[in-house]
């Protein structure tokens, strides 16, 4: 019962449309599988719970990304070769921009280090400093990703993506 309740809570991580379509069915399948595994050993039950929670978390992230990018192709191997026509999902563009930002920031940091230690001087291998720089880069990347995701989320909430479907004038019959 507790696991089923937790499972149903975790289903809320999925997009609403997906949850409406498959949520009850998934919960029913989970209930069946859980009823069977409760007869088993503790280790088997723990493995089952970990697998289910992991599957739900990964699945929800995949569905959320798919909802934003409207494509499966960037993640699945077989999905990439499903279509004969070329596709360039928006998520890939986003990841490429993120990588580019990371490279630019790394170059800036390298330049700062060079200025700090002077041109021509040998740079001592200071791991704490490197870790600090790496940490900062990670923070900046995470913040950038968060901001971009926030913008996408806000845009979707305002319904601006539906503007493309609007017809400015009535069609002549």
């Amino acid at each position: 019962m507790l696991m089923l309740a937790l499972y149903r809570r975790l289903l809320y991580l999925y997009p609403a449309g997906y949850r409406c379509k498959y949520g009850e069915e998934m919960a029913w399948v989970f209930q069946q599988a859980h009823a069977e595994i409760t007869k088993g050993r503790v280790f088997a039950r723990a493995e089952f719970c970990a697998r289910e929670i992991g599957g739900l978390l990964f699945g929800s992230v995949r569905e959320q990304v798919r909802r934003l990018s409207n494509s499966y192709d960037w993640m699945s191997r077989e999905g990439g070769s499903m279509e004969s026509k070329f596709r360039f999902p928006r998520a890939t563009v986003f990841l490429m921009l993120l990588s580019l930002a990371g490279v630019v920031l790394s170059l800036e940091e390298a330049r700062a280090i060079q200025i700090h230690y002077g041109v021509g001087s040998s740079i001592p291998p200071e791991w704490p400093a490197m870790l600090w720089i790496f940490g900062r880069l990670l923070l900046i990347a995470a913040a950038t990703a968060g901001i971009v995701w926030g913008i996408f989320f806000a845009l979707r909430r305002t319904g601006v993506h539906r503007l493309a479907e609007l017809k400015p004038w009535r069609e002549q019959k």
Partner: protein
Amino acid sequence: MEQRLPLTEPVLLLLLSLAEQPRHGYSILKDVERMSGGRVTLSTGTLYGALQRLLSHGWIERFKEDEAARDRRAYRLTMQGRKILQAEVERMKHLTKLAGLRTARKEA
């Protein structure tokens, strides 16, 4: 069709499971586990992700098996899905034959 091959093992097992008869989610889970000898165990999240993908490609279809069971939907292969599965089996047969020939030649 060749562009869509090879299939991953979970997808292949899933299609094989539905090739025999229409099944609902839990039945697919158990059948995949049985066919792979317990090696491939899908979580419900992974299973429904794969089903959703196969539905979007038109390889399987979803239908109401029983009016009494409100939340239970069953899945079956479409003609396109069956063609894909047959093509994959042919590809594997060819590979197996080739591997047999090559290893036999090496042993001789």
